[in-house]
Each structure stands twice: as C-alpha cells, then as structure tokens.
C-alpha cells in the first residue's frame, strides 16, 4: 500500500492551482459576457424617463440605471462564482480521488475527507490573511521605519521621551483607556444583572426591559448627540467656544436640573478628568441593554428546582442571587465581560464626537486619529507614528485574547469531563 499523504498533497495542489486560474478567468469572462446588460438597463431607464417624463437630465437616468445594472450583475456573478467554486472544487476532489485510488472506496473517502475541510475553510483563510494578517504585519514593520524606510524606533519615542510628540497624549490615553476598561464593563454588568433580576419580579418588567434595551439600537454617535443635549451647558444663551469646540444652542437638561446658569456653562463632559465619566456613562447607557438581555436569558436557564431547593434551605433573596443564581451563570457573565472589553477597546465615536481635541479625554483609538489630524505639523513621519499607535492599541487587546483562549480551553476541558 502506498502512503496517502503524497496523493492528498498533490490532489490538493491540483485543486488549488485549478481554482487560482479558473476563478479569475471565469469571473472576467462572466463580466465581459454580461456587459451588454448595463446598456440594456440604461435603455430601460431612458424608456422610463421618456414614459414618465422625469425632469432631471437624461444623462443622470442613463448613468444611474447602468450602475444599478452593474450592481445587480455583480451580485449575481459573485454568488454564482461562490457556488461555482464549491461545486468545481468538490467535484475535482471526488473525481481525482476516484482516479488515484480506483479499487479502494475507503482510501478514496480518506483522501476526500482530508481535502474537503480545506475547501470550505480555504477562502476564509485567504481573506483573513489578505485583510487582517498582512495589514497587521505591514503596520508593524511601518511602525519601525522612518518615512524614507530606514529602520528606527523613533516612532515609539512617546513611550519614554518626554520631549517627543504624543508623550503626554499617550499617558492620558492609557489612563483613560484603563478607566474605561475597568468601569464600563463592570457597570454594564452590574446594571444588567440588577435589571434582569428586578424586572423579573414586577409585572411591568417586560416594558422596563424594552426601555433599557432600546438604546442598543442607537449608534454611538447618535447616543453621544443625545447625551450632549443633557450634559451640555445649562444656559439659554448661545455658548462660547470651549476647548476649540462651539457647543450648539443646548438644552443642557442635567445642568439645568443641577441649577447651573448661563455663566457656568461648561458641558459636564468637558470637565477636567471627571468629564471622562460622563463619556463612559453614554456607553454604559447603550450597552446595559445588551448585558441585561443576555443575563435575563441566562437567569431563566437556572434550573427552577435548584431555586426551590434554596428556598427550602432558607436562602433570602440576596443569598439566592449571590450564592445560587449568580454562580450558575458565571460563565455567561465572563462572556459578556470579554465582549464588553473588546467593545471598549474599539470605542472611538463617543469621545471623538464630544471631545475630539481634548487631550484629557483621549482613548487610544481617538489618539490615533488625533495623530493623523493634528500632529502632521510636528513631523514628517506621521504615517509611521500612526502605525506605532495602532501597534500599541493591538497590544492592549492581547491580554484579553489570551484570557479568552484560556477560558475557552478550560470550559471545553470541563465539558469533556
């Protein structure tokens, strides 16, 4: 018996090469063949233009309909190419295995099963490689270069050199990021749990939960705008420029309630240091609904009989929650926590919309954008500096990823038992 691995390797290579040549050719061919469709669409548009006597220029109609046509056939061709890819590669896999091992069905299926997973995972791997790994690596190499390509660590100077560009900003951004990382997920989780538990004990709980959940559908910028109206200055006069930004004519709800007047009109989110917490609150407001929904479902999943057993054992509502329910949804809490941590690391819109130019409110993501916008006057290596901040941002995600990997492995081990 010959070993199977050379056959698998050569079949795999053959399929790979076929696909690499065949798919682009097919795609180009399909686009070329279907080109007249754009004209047909344009003609349809012209006919409609004439029929309904549209008022705007004929040329616009023609162009728009041609674009629609192009979009339509692009979608159809892309989907078709995907089917074609799976069809042709599976067919190749099966028929080559049949040719190579004529007499043994078992060996045939061994070959097919060895290659098949790669047919399905392959495109994803290629996309990951092209759009995630390659850019990440090139960012890394860019961050260790001068603008002219000579190796350098100057871009990271903000780590140690007080004189360098971004030294202060980086420290503020790290401080703020850390505060966001600790406060936002934990507050969301505490509120989410509290609401999930309390809402279950009142008749109007569903309505309450709906109201808590709705902000999840609001974009971060939208949420920032909503809360700007609440945190803004309490005066009725148009406000003067603060920190390089002119607040619009604001309602200033919270400040009005606090009794602040037009004379004291600095928005709450602009306060030195404390403003950060008002920004964090916006994200908490948006994300509590997410935590609540997940915890609600998890709490429903706690076996009713363990709750009844605890009742008989004499647990009061607090003991019931902390000693019986919470430990049973512990893994859900962890999942929500890691999800929120990743989200916080990505947060950009909220501080950028409200306090883009305020160094005191910087996060790593906004600092990156600031580097691009504001520091270009400070040096010629802006892109490289930009890359080095991106690398720092990536490094902050690593502990979370390591922890998650460890947790998933441990959970699988426990399930295995």
């Amino acid at each position: 018996m010959r070993a199977l691995s050379p056959i698998i390797a050569s079949n795999g290579l053959a399929i790979f090469l076929t696909i690499v040549f065949l798919l682009p050719i097919t795609a180009i061919f399909a686009f070329v063949v279907t080109t007249p469709l754009d004209d047909a669409m344009a003609n349809l548009g012209l006919w409609m233009h004439a029929h309904w006597q549209w008022s705007f220029p004929e040329f616009d109609t023609q162009e728009r309909f041609a674009k629609i046509g192009f979009a339509l056939r692009s979608v159809v061709i892309a989907v078709g190419i995907s089917f074609f890819y799976f069809g042709i590669s599976n067919w190749l896999n099966a028929s080559m295995a049949r040719v190579r091992c004529k007499n043994s069905l078992g060996r045939q299926s061994n070959i097919i099963e060895a290659i098949q997973p790669w047919i399905f995972v392959g495109p994803t791997l290629v996309l990951l490689l092209l759009f995630l790994l390659v850019p990440a690596l090139s960012t890394l190499s860019l961050s260790f270069q001068e603008y002219d390509g000579t190796p350098s660590v100057r871009n990271y100077a903000f780590l140690w050199d007080p004189e360098s560009l971004g030294y202060l900003q980086f420290r503020l951004a790290m401080r703020n990021s850390l505060m966001w990382l600790i406060l936002v997920p934990s507050t969301c989780i505490i509120f989410g749990l509290l609401i999930a538990v309390l809402a279950d004990s009142v008749s109007w709980g569903v309505v309450a939960k709906t109201f808590i959940f709705v902000p999840l559908a609001i974009s971060f910028v939208g949420a920032a705008v909503i809360w700007r109206n609440i945190f803004a200055g309490g005066g009725i006069e148009p406000l003067e420029t603060i920190n390089g930004m002119t607040p619009s004519y604001q309602i200033g709800l919270l400040k009005s309630l606090l009794g602040h007047t037009a004379e004291y009109n600095e928005p709450l989110y602009s306060l030195k240091f404390w403003g950060n917490f008002f920004l964090m609150w916006i994200l908490v407001w948006v994300q509590t609904g997410f935590a609540m929904v997940i915890f609600s479902a998890a709490l429903r999943g706690v076996p009713e009989d363990t709750i009844e057993a605890a009742k008989i054992d004499g647990a009061n509502p607090f003991q019931m929650f902390f000693r019986v329910k919470l430990p049973q949804i512990y893994s859900t809490v962890l999942v929500v926590w890691t999800t929120l941590v990743v989200l916080v690391l990505k947060v950009f819109d909220i501080p950028y919309a409200l306090s883009a130019n305020d160094d005191d409110k910087l996060l790593l993501a906004t600092m990156m954008e600031n580097a691009r916008n504001n520091w270009s006057i400070g040096g010629d290596n802006v892109d490289n500096l930009y890359a080095s901040i991106a690398v720092m941002l990536m490094l902050t995600v690593v502990p979370n990823m390591v922890f998650n990997g460890w947790r998933i492995r441990r959970e699988q081990r426990e399930l295995g038992n």
């Binding site: 009742k311 008989i312 004499g314």
Partner: protein
C-alpha cells in the same frame, strides 16, 4: 396531635382545581406515600406541604404549628427532588452544608453534622466532588444527605427514584426504607409506582384528580379497596372487572350477589353499598385470585401467554368479549386459543 395535619386543603391554578378539599393526618414517624396516576395532584399536594405553592384555602399544621403562611424554610421540612436539584457549582460538602450555613450554624457543628450524614449514607469519600462528577445514584444520595443534615420534622420525597435505572431503583428503595427505620423520621413520599408505594409505606394515600380516594395500610388497600379506582390502580396486573347486575342484597349491608357473564356468586363483599338490586355493577377479581377449575363458572380463550420466569401471566377473552388476566406461579401448559375455565375464592372478590 398528628405530626402533619391537612385540613380542607384546596388548590386551584386559575380555574383549574388541582387539589379538592383534602384532609389528612400523618402521625409522627409514619411513612406515608401519595400515589396516583400522573396529573392527580400528588406532587402539587407535596409542594403545598413544602410551601413551594400557596394554598387557595385550608390549613396545614406541622409539628403542632400552623405553617400555612410560613415560608418553606420555616416549616421544619426537607425535600428531595425528582431531579435531585443539587447546586452544580458547590461541592457535595457545600451542598449539604448550605442550609446550615444560611442558618448561621457554627462551622464546627456544620462539619460534624455533614460528616454524620455522609457516614449514614456511606459517602464520606465523595464530599470534595462536584455533582457533575457523580453518578445518578450518588447524586440521589447527596440529595437525601442534604435533607438529613437539616434534621427536619418531616422529610418530603418527590418521586426520588424515577431518574434511576431499574437495579439502582431497587437498591435505593431498600436504602430509603433502611434510613427511615434508622432515623424514624416522619416521611411523605410521592410516587406513581405502586411497587414503591406498597413496599415503603406505613400508610398509602391514593389520589385521583385532586381528591383522596382512600387512605390506609398497603394490604388494607389491596384487600379491601374502597372503590373501583383504588382496586384498579393497586395490584399488578390490574384487577379484572366483569359487567353484570346486582341480584341480591342480604341483611348485612356490605354484601351482595352478582350475576353476569356466566358468573353467579353467593354473598360477597359489596363495595358500592348505595346500589340496589337490579342495578348494573362490576365484579372485581384480582388475576392472582382466580383458580384453575374445570367446572368453574368463568370461561376464557387464551389470547396471550407471558412467561416472566417466576410468574406466568395469561391474557384471556371471556365469552362476552371481556378481557381478563390470570397469574400463577405454578407451571402451566397452555397455548393461544386454548379454552380454560376458572373458579374463585368468594372471600376475595368485590362488587363495585
């Protein structure tokens, strides 16, 4: 005063009445089994006693104390659930110690009591494990241990054996009987399995549609069922019933004569004393109480023979198309289609 007393207990979920006017007295140290078909309300009755459901009306007293409005933990009960209901995140030790810990019992005493319970149940070696690492039988024992540790006035068992396999079920049943003998605790036990009911109980309570059908010692219920339901529910295979009419009622009120399906009886036990002569009635004879007799009044054609090793169950069709069964421990040589005649002991038949 009884250890557990139920007075006019009613329970309705919306408009559905599940427990109707149940009154019961359970003496100290008694082993009482609630038995009945599924949906008869036996589990609900147990949960009412435990305090996991609230009464619609009526009163419950445990150990001379009205507990109707008390929470479960203050009623002096401990419950073993069908699904064990162990806390999955705690070790066996913590599962058993939890209730004592909540009561604020000192650590040292908790340890003593948990270890004593573990010793009674022979599971000292399991104390550090989590429920997930235990077998079904071991989990059941932890659940029982958790109840023992609390040293309650009343033990409540809600179908504790139904998640175990047949062999383990038998072992655990014996174990529960041994425990009861050892601890002498008042126990209420819910099951749908009449074998468990017959073997474990000092007193059986048969329930149907939320009403108590009969209360009594197992053999009393078996020998003198109070109605057709109890007669049909207890005993395996089930009692045979033959349709006919009441032909005579002698002076003694609990006797009657039956005629129907070729069977004529003398004066036998009349259960439904409200019936008068000429009313249609049923004659109940247990499969075990039929006697092979060539001149007997009952004739049947064999339709199925089941050899169980110890017993043989024979299913027959009577002349009027009534299906009935005969059970014997003796070797018997019949095949499907044979015609067999039976007699019976008039002491052991009932008219319903």
């Amino acid at each position: 005063m009884a250890q557990v007393e139920l007075q006019g207990v009613n329970k309705a979920f919306g408009k559905t009445e599940v427990i109707r006017n149940v009154g019961l007295e359970i003496e100290k140290g008694e082993f009482v089994v609630f038995v009945g078909p599924s949906g008869c309300g036996k589990s609900t009755l147990l949960r009412l006693i435990a305090g996991l459901e609230t009464l619609t009306s009526g009163d419950i007293c445990i150990a001379d104390k009205t507990v109707t409005d008390l929470p479960p933990s203050k009623r002096g009960i401990a419950m073993v659930f069908q699904s064990y209901a162990l806390y999955p995140h705690m070790t066996v030790y913590n599962n058993m110690a939890f209730s004592l810990d909540l009561q604020g019992v000192p650590k040292k005493e908790i340890r003593e009591r948990v270890e004593a319970a573990a010793k009674i149940l022979q599971m000292e070696t399991l104390l550090d494990r989590r429920p997930a690492a235990l077998s079904g039988g071991q989990r059941q024992r932890v659940a029982i241990g958790r109840a023992i540790v609390r040293n309650p006035d009343v033990f409540l068992f809600d179908e504790p054996l139904s998640n175990l396999d047949a062999a383990l079920r038998h072992d655990t049943r014996v174990e529960i009987a041994r425990l009861h003998a050892q601890l002498g605790a008042t126990t209420i036990y819910v099951t749908h399995d009449q074998v468990e009911a017959m073997t474990l109980a000092d007193k059986i309570v048969v329930l149907k549609a939320g009403e108590v059908m009969q209360v009594g010692a197992p053999m009393d219920l078996f020998n003198k069922p109070a109605n057709e339901f109890v007669a049909g529910f207890l005993g395996s295979p089930t009692m045979n019933f033959f349709h006919g009419t009441l032909t005579g009622k002698p002076e003694t009120p609990e006797q009657g004569r039956f005629s129907g399906g070729g069977i004529e009886t003398g004066d036998v036990r009349l259960v439904s004393t409200e019936k008068s002569i000429g009313d249609s009635v049923k004659l109940g004879i247990r499969p075990q109480h039929l006697i092979l007799d060539d001149k007997g009044p009952l004739e049947g054609t064999v339709s199925l023979v089941e050899h169980l090793g110890t017993d043989t169950i024979i299913e027959l069709m009577a002349a009027d198309n009534t299906l009935f069964r005969f059970v014997t421990a003796d070797a018997i040589n019949v095949t499907v289609g044979d015609v067999v005649r039976f007699g019976f002991d008039p002491e052991k038949v009932h008219i319903f």
